[in-house]
């Protein structure tokens, strides 16, 4: 079909932009301590950096290239430079702002629920109680299940208004059964996604708790500090770095959530659960319009970068020592 025809010009142009972006990131760095053996550092980092560079350049480069082309799998005769056509079409979509808003709501709520919940649960599971090993594995288990299966289980077995477990619970308490996906579609998705990602946060935070210096806690307790004080002044600061990592990693995944929406609500009713990834799917992939899908991908990257910059500002201090 179409062979990859990245013009040398295009690739160089893109490479410069990458260095530029990296430069922006670097300039915001404060010099963090002594520089030790720059060459040694470089050689150790080389494999990781080289691979990721390749991974970025090739597919990302092709995506950016395609986004400026007319390229539709189903219509091979439609070729040629499209300029900003693809972008224009996507950016003038009346559903775009709603999709961005939904994306941010989804990401925001899930982050809050998983980080707060994860921290509290990490404290709880750090304590010694009967057979906590198994309890820990149980609490982490939602992360093991495939997202599509989780979504299906929640939709058909838990939240179903006629034969779901939640409906049965409500009815035994004398309350009417809630039609989750019709009346609270986005909330339902948030619940499902939070359930899936809470174990992730729990796992990282629990592991980070392992390096908490117990002697310090002992000393504080001896000095008369209550559990709340210990939590806020010792535990939480210690977990700051881990919390930042959780936020950054989750953000990356949550921005492109697709499977759960696809399987439960198909983006509806209306646009209630259409996030940016789903919008791109409907507008571009369903039509097999590669040009538009690529443009959508670029827009998604830009959105992700904006969100990341905000988060980095909030969280950056905790990355350094």
């Amino acid at each position: 079909m179409h062979s990859c025809a990245c013009p040398a010009q295009g690739r160089r142009c893109w490479w410069f932009s990458q260095v530029f972006l990296a430069g922006i990131y670097m300039n915001r760095t404060r010099t963090s301590g002594r520089t030790v053996g720059g060459l040694r550092t470089l050689s150790l980092q080389a494999p990781a950096v080289t691979l990721l560079l390749l991974w970025m350049i090739v597919p990302l480069g092709m995506t950016i290239w395609f986004s400026f082309q007319r390229y539709n799998l189903l219509m091979p005769e439609m070729t040629g430079f499209a300029g900003l056509e693809n972008y224009e079409y996507l950016l003038t979509d009346p559903a775009l702002w709603s999709a961005m808003g939904t994306t941010l709501l989804l990401v925001g709520w899930v982050l809050v629920i998983t980080v707060v919940g994860g921290t509290l649960l990490a404290v709880l599971f750090q304590q010694d109680f009967a057979v906590r090993g198994i309890a820990r594995v149980l609490a982490i288990s939602p992360f093991f299940v495939m997202p599509t299966v989780s979504a299906l289980v929640w939709k058909n077995m838990m939240m179903h208004p006629s034969n779901g477990v939640l409906a049965w619970l409500a009815q035994s308490l004398g309350l009417p059964a809630l039609d989750w996906f019709s009346s609270l579609p986005l909330t339902s998705i948030i619940i499902i996604v939070s359930w899936q990602w809470l174990p992730f946060a729990l796992l990282i935070l629990l592991t980070a708790m392992q390096s908490l210096d117990e002697d310090q806690v002992e000393a504080a307790r001896m000095d008369g500090a209550g559990p709340l004080a210990i939590f806020f002044f010792i535990t939480l600061p210690h977990l700051k770095r881990a919390i930042s990592v959780v936020i950054m990693i989750e953000m990356i995944f949550l921005l492109t959530i697709f499977a759960e929406i696809f399987v439960t609500t198909s983006g509806g009713p209306g646009l209630a659960t259409t996030n940016l990834a789903y919008l791109i799917y409907i507008q571009a992939l369903l039509d097999f319009d590669v040009g538009m899908a690529s443009a959508g991908g670029v827009i998604a990257i830009i959105l992700a970068n904006i969100v990341a910059i905000f988060l980095v500002r909030m969280v950056a201090k905790n990355l350094e020592d």
Binding site: M1, P76, D93, P94, H160, S183, S266, P269, L271, I282
Partner: protein, 440 residues
């Protein structure tokens, strides 16, 4: 002299080489959906491999949307990953036009092409040549609970109308604990709620596009149809209707939660099976209801087996697809899995077979429905497209899903019917303009 002495050996060697070639296994990859009939086809792999010892089958079974995406990506990029693809009456004309499918003009005589039902056959052909062989076909019809109708003293006429259906739904809704008057599809999707809604719009006298490809989604007919749909389903439908697709409604009806259900004829076999359905003994069938016109009131869909042009094992693939869609295959399934599990809707001979018609009392309905459904003449006023419950253009997947979303919003009451149809009209216009069918 020397040559003559060596001749027997060389002949033997040659013979062995040739025999070795003939015994060389051709492995073909078959991509298919996970419907019951395909599962049965997969279970009969041994039967096929025994009859054709030089071919082995490699199965790829996926969920419909994923499968479609996977196959389209592969066939459009010439990936060559599959030798047999299971596609539907929507894809076949589009892909055949682009030369991606192998034309099936050299089928064996005993395949009996004329036995195939005409409407199904036409739906899978381009310029008169078959490009895919029909595996099974379906239309839509109405299922109802004979016991509830008897109790309420309602008699089902030969051709029910939607107005009548509404009255019955009102009468029966809630007459039993957890009973909904009627169950209909509501989940957004071009093949989910829009498949049903399109037929409803057709029979109310509407159409998707006029002859110049202008969308008509906010026309009076559409308005009437969607208002009727929203009114009917929100008042007399089950809870959670806006996220119910075919499977959810099948589950509801099987458990006895619906008094009536209008959906695919392929549900009949499952509803009739006592091991899977609680209502097998009280099942009634009727043609899909009509309103202003009988045209387009019930759909036509066929799953078919096709050979991609990029396949490297076309001969073996053809042997497989002719086997799987032949009369002999249907007999085989009837004998091994029971006659209600036979793939329906493809051949006249199936419906002439007494074993089938006696085991499946709904057979006559299904045959009529399939024969009467005409994708080339599916609306009251003439339209430029092919398809009853879909529009045979590549853009329809995107359009259908977007419109499906707005209609689901109307169903939950998030928007009014007018608002929903207006935004559906705008979205469709936008897509059609971009695709070049109409001017900006």
């Amino acid at each position: 002299m020397r040559l003559a002495r060596h001749l027997p050996v060389t002949t033997l060697a040659a013979a062995v080489a040739v025999a070795g070639q003939a015994q060389a296994q051709t492995e073909i990859t078959v991509a298919t959906v996970n419907n019951n009939d395909m599962v049965i086809m997969q279970s009969l792999t041994d039967a096929f491999e025994q009859a054709h010892p030089d071919i082995t089958l490699d199965w790829v079974v996926l969920e419909e949307n994923v499968l479609r995406q996977r196959m389209t990506t592969d066939i459009a990029t010439g990936g060559g990953q599959f030798d047999v693809m299971t596609i539907g009456t929507y894809e076949v004309p589009i892909w055949a036009e682009r030369g991606w499918l192998e034309p099936l003009d050299s089928l064996p005589d005993d395949y009996n092409e004329d036995d195939l039902l005409a409407s199904v056959r036409d739906g899978l052909s381009l310029d008169g040549t078959l490009h895919a062989l029909p595996f099974y076909a379906e239309s839509s019809m109405m299922y109802y609970r004979t016991d509830l109708f008897e109790q309420a003293g309602i008699e089902m006429p030969e051709q029910p109308t939607w107005v009548q259906v509404r009255d019955w739904a009102e009468q029966l809704h809630g007459s039993e604990e957890g009973l909904a008057g009627i169950c209909l599809r509501g989940k957004p999707g071009w093949g989910e709620n829009m498949a049903f809604v399109s037929t409803l719009v057709n029979t109310f006298g509407g159409r998707w596009f006029d002859e110049q490809w202008n969308p008509e989604l906010n026309s009076e007919a559409w308005n009437n149809a969607i208002s009727f749909y929203v009114d009917l389903l929100s008042n007399y439908g089950p809870p959670g209707a806006s996220s119910n697709g075919f499977n959810e409604n099948l589950a509801l009806f099987s458990r006895g939660n619906c008094a009536m259900w209008v959906d695919a004829t392929s549900a009949a076999g499952k509803l009739y099976d006592e091991s899977e359905s609680d209502v097998a003994g009280t099942l009634g069938f009727a043609p899909a209801p009509i309103a202003e016109t009988p045209k387009g009131s019930h759909w036509l869909w066929s799953w078919a087996l096709a050979i991609p042009a990029s396949s490297e094992h076309k001969e073996a693939a053809q042997e497989f697809i002719t086997w799987a869609t032949s009369e002999e295959y249907i007999e085989l399934v009837g004998e091994t899995n029971g006659w209600t599990s036979v793939p329906p809707g493809t051949r006249e001979s199936t419906y002439a077979n007494e074993q089938y018609t006696s085991a499946a009392p709904f057979a006559g309905f299904v045959l009529n429905a399939i024969k009467e459904a005409d994708p080339t003449d599916s609306s009251l006023e003439p339209n430029p497209y092919v398809g009853v419950q879909f529009v045979g253009i590549p853009e329809f997947q995107s359009i259908g899903t977007q419109v499906g979303q707005t209609i689901a919003a109307a169903l939950t009451g998030d928007t009014s019917v007018e608002q929903a149809l207006d935004s559906a009209q705008r979205a469709t216009e936008r897509t059609m303009q971009r695709a070049g069918y109409i001017e900006r």
